[in-house]
Amino acid sequence: MIDIQSFSFTYKNEAEPALRDVSISVPEGGFLGIIGPAGAGKTTLARAVCGIIPHHYPGDYYGRISVGGLDPVEASLTDLSRLVGLVFQDVDSQIISTMVEDEILYGLENFGIPHAEIPERIRLALAQAGIADLQDRTVASLSGGQRQKVAIASILALRPRVLVLDEPTGELDPVSSRQVFSLLKQLRKEHGVTVIVIEQKIMLLCEFAEQLAVLDHGAVLRQGPTREVLAHAEELLALGVNCPRVTTLSRLLSRRLGRELPVCVNLEEAEETARRLMT
């Protein structure tokens, strides 16, 4: 679905490239998690996948990207956005309306969704984001977390086949964060939506993502199935990206005992390993 080959990008008037020689591919219905320290180029990568780069941000562009068969350089931003939905990291700059309802309405109107279908789409998107009760509120009266959900709902309503979310849970509490990830899982399963999530809450990410890519200084430091990437926990720690605690624990244990243990990414697996060790 998404195929990025040797992609590099330097923003106009910047000396350093924001992305260097990045190659990543995600199959249809796949779930890629992206992690990395601040300034690593995660947001830039998200912009490139949905075509805002190079259509909106000029700069030096090398390599090839293909999203659902479209080339972001050749296809218009409008054609791309029928396919890819992006939830911005800076939620406040994404929201353009004063009312929650109008924000969800905006994209639906523009893409010419039949007016008879619109109320149901709004209702469903708000329900999916868990904010059905906020439909008639002003955006200004909402908390940061609620605004984040509005931004997510406004993209969900458009039902894109590829969803890119740039730190979508930054302002959310643990329960809401998990709800967002569960929703993504459901969209993948029921509609074959391809998902890319940039996330700081690594524990949560590792539980849901099939693949991980670690970015640093614009380059992919490591990528692969989540479990394999987590096996290199030292590398992640050196970057200042913390690993799930169970992973760190199982790694320490394996070193202390001097034998290979499986990499644990959640509590159940850790329990299983511990039980096996005891017997």
Binding site: H56, F88, S93, I95, I96, S97, L105, N110
Partner: protein, 248 residues
């Protein structure tokens, strides 16, 4: 301060009016205020402004706006009175003509600013831009620019006050400075704020673009904006207002 520019949901007559009607009403009040030179007519217009606030059910906000404007108004009034040399002296260098001109200028300022803020309080910006496109056939690009600017005013003010608070915490005495001195202290803070605002608005434009901004036509909007009897009545009132400002 930032609350002054925010939409207040409601069902009042003012909320229900066609956004274009509200815009025309605003412009006509401003026009009348500039045409007339009578202090009494200006006072009448001020009463109209206040009535609008009351009917819209935003009385508290109206008073807030009035209070905000008063600070500037008092400053301008004193300046005018001291600078005016025409007419017969009433007291020290203060003349009767000076007082009258000052009152006119200041009243005009207040009367012109209030309806702008009030209309924003009772109109969703998306309705405003939709109606501009649908009824007046304004190109959507311009309508979007206008509404985005309006949307960013509160955010800009909020960031401004955040920065000032941060600077105050570092020992810069904004709260004790007055007038020009305060302005001088605030100006250096505006540059970084403007740069971040430009980056912000740029992102907002991108956010609109990836949601089909360029596909939008006058037929896109879900809501329609027909004119009702109420609109006709308000427009009739506007005609009367202009006529009166010319005749009185």
């Amino acid at each position: 301060m930032k609350e002054l520019f925010q939409y207040v949901p409601g069902q009042s007559l003012l909320h229900r009016l066609n956004p274009v009607t509200k815009l025309i009403l605003t412009i006509m009040i401003c026009a009348a205020a500039f045409i007339t030179s009578s202090v009494f007519f200006l006072l009448g217009l001020l009463a109209v402004d206040l009535a609008i606030g009351l009917i819209a059910g935003v009385a508290r906000k109206t008073l807030g706006i009035l209070r905000g404007l008063m600070k500037i108004a008092v400053f301008l009034f004193v300046l005018q009175v001291l600078l005016s040399r025409q007419g017969t002296p009433v007291f020290w260098i203060i003349t009767d003509r000076g007082l009258l001109t000052a009152a006119t200028v200041v009243l005009r300022l207040v009367v012109v600013c209030m309806p702008l803020a009030l209309v924003l309080a009772v109109t969703r910006v998306s309705d405003l831009s939709n109606a501009l496109v649908q009824v007046l056939h304004v190109p959507y690009k311009y309508a979007f620019t206008l509404t985005t600017a309006i949307r960013f005013i509160p955010q800009f003010l909020e960031e401004m006050s955040d920065i000032m608070e941060a600077q105050t915490a570092r020992g810069i005495a904004f709260d004790q400075a007055r007038g020009l001195k305060k302005l001088g202290m605030m100006l250096p803070l505006c540059a970084p704020l403007l740069i971040s605002s430009v980056r912000r608005t740029d992102q907002t434009a991108a956010a609109a673009e990836i949601r089909g901004f360029s596909l939008r036509t006058s037929a896109s909007a879900f809501r329609r904006y027909p004119f009702h009897l109420e609109d006709a009545l308000v427009l009739g009132f506007c005609v009367l207002l202009i006529a009166a400002s010319i005749l009185l």
